[in-house]
């Protein structure tokens, strides 16, 4: 706040507001009369919380299945290890696929966070 004994402050206060034409209110209201009110459309995240939890659980299950499967695949036999062999034969041979899955999970989490932050920002505008 300006100090009370301030020459510039006194000058501004003495001058007051600039004065528009007297019919400005009427001209504004004439434009307002033909202007629609914009109602903000509620923005929801692309995927709901439940969907994201499902994706994360599914990814974690696949990751766990892969880790356990790769550890037991040579020794064990049965429907789970057979399924694992089918999946692992379809995966590219180069690189560590478990790392790829971990990266995918992290990316999904980041996308979920960004999605929610953007929705929150839109609400606060």
């Amino acid at each position: 706040m300006p100090e009370p004994k301030d020459t510039l402050h006194d000058l501004f206060q003495a001058a007051g507001h600039a004065a528009p034409d007297t019919d400005l209110t009427d001209r504004i209201m004439a434009r307002v009369a033909v202007t629609p009110l914009l109602r903000p459309t509620p923005v929801k995240p692309i995927l709901g919380r439940g969907a994201w939890i499902g994706i994360i659980l599914l990814t974690a299950a696949v990751l766990l299945w892969g880790l356990l499967g790769s550890a037991n695949t040579e020794a064990a036999s049965g429907p789970v290890s057979d399924a694992w062999r089918t999946v692992s034969s379809a995966l590219p041979s180069s690189g560590n696929w478990a790392l790829w899955l971990a990266g995918l999970s992290a990316s999904l989490l980041v996308l979920a966070a960004v999605d929610r932050v953007l929705a929150g920002r839109h609400r606060s505008i």
Binding site: M1, P2, D6, T7, L8, H9, D10, L11, F12, Q13, A14, A15, G16, H17, A18, A19, P20, D21, T22, L24, T25, R27, I28, M29, R31, V32, A33, T35, P36, L37, L38, R39, P40, S124, I125
Partner: protein, 190 residues
């Protein structure tokens, strides 16, 4: 200016009574016009920017969350609209007569006030338009630095520096150009 119950008026407008907006327009038009005039320095452009500001504010009234004061929200729209008009004018028309000019009909302009206003208009015309607006927010509306930060979108330290420099420059201009006349006008008006 009499106090205005913003929330009641806004609720009425959002409920479909667009005429209630006239009360907000009447209450704030002089300050909004002043902000636009300080940036644009031309009465016709300032009136256009004032109209646009109020229409924009009306359109987006439902989005006014009430987190800030209504006046701060409105001034922010006015300031940005005026800056945008100024840019368009510079890009489109090149040089424009920027001598301060106000419409002749001003119902509450006494001779004395008019003289002080002319003096201030001429002195502020020597400053950067954005600095002139910041000075008006600070000295005329008595807004805090935090409110000016919200309105202009500038950083707090930037606002403080601009305020300091603009005050110094304006004081120099007033003293160099008008000297004791400014002091006399202020004292006479008080």
């Amino acid at each position: 200016m009499h106090p205005v119950d913003h929330s009641t008026i806004i609720q009425r407008i959002l409920g479909g009574d667009s005429r209630a907006y006239a009360e907000l327009v009447r209450h704030y038009q002089r300050m909004v016009y002043t902000v636009c005039f300080r940036v644009l320095r031309n009465a016709q452009d300032a009136e256009e920017a004032t109209q646009d500001s109020f229409v924009k504010a009306y359109q987006h009234l439902a989005g006014f969350g009430g987190n800030a004061k209504f006046s701060t929200w409105l001034y922010s729209i006015a300031y940005r609209t005026a800056i945008s008009h100024g840019r368009k004018r510079r890009d489109g028309e090149g040089s424009v007569d920027e001598l301060p000019h106000h419409p002749a009909a001003d119902p509450d302009t006494s001779g004395q006030r008019s003289e002080v206003r002319q003096l201030l208009d001429h002195a502020l015309a020597q400053l950067d338009p954005e600095d002139a607006s910041i000075l008006s927010f600070f000295h005329l509306e008595e807004l805090s630095v935090e409110e000016i930060v919200t309105i202009t979108g500038l950083g707090a330290s930037n606002v403080k520096v601009r305020l300091h420099r603009a005050r110094k420059k304006l004081l120099d201009v007033v003293q160099a150009t008008y000297g004791t006349e400014a002091q006399r006008l202020i004292l006479d008006h008080a």
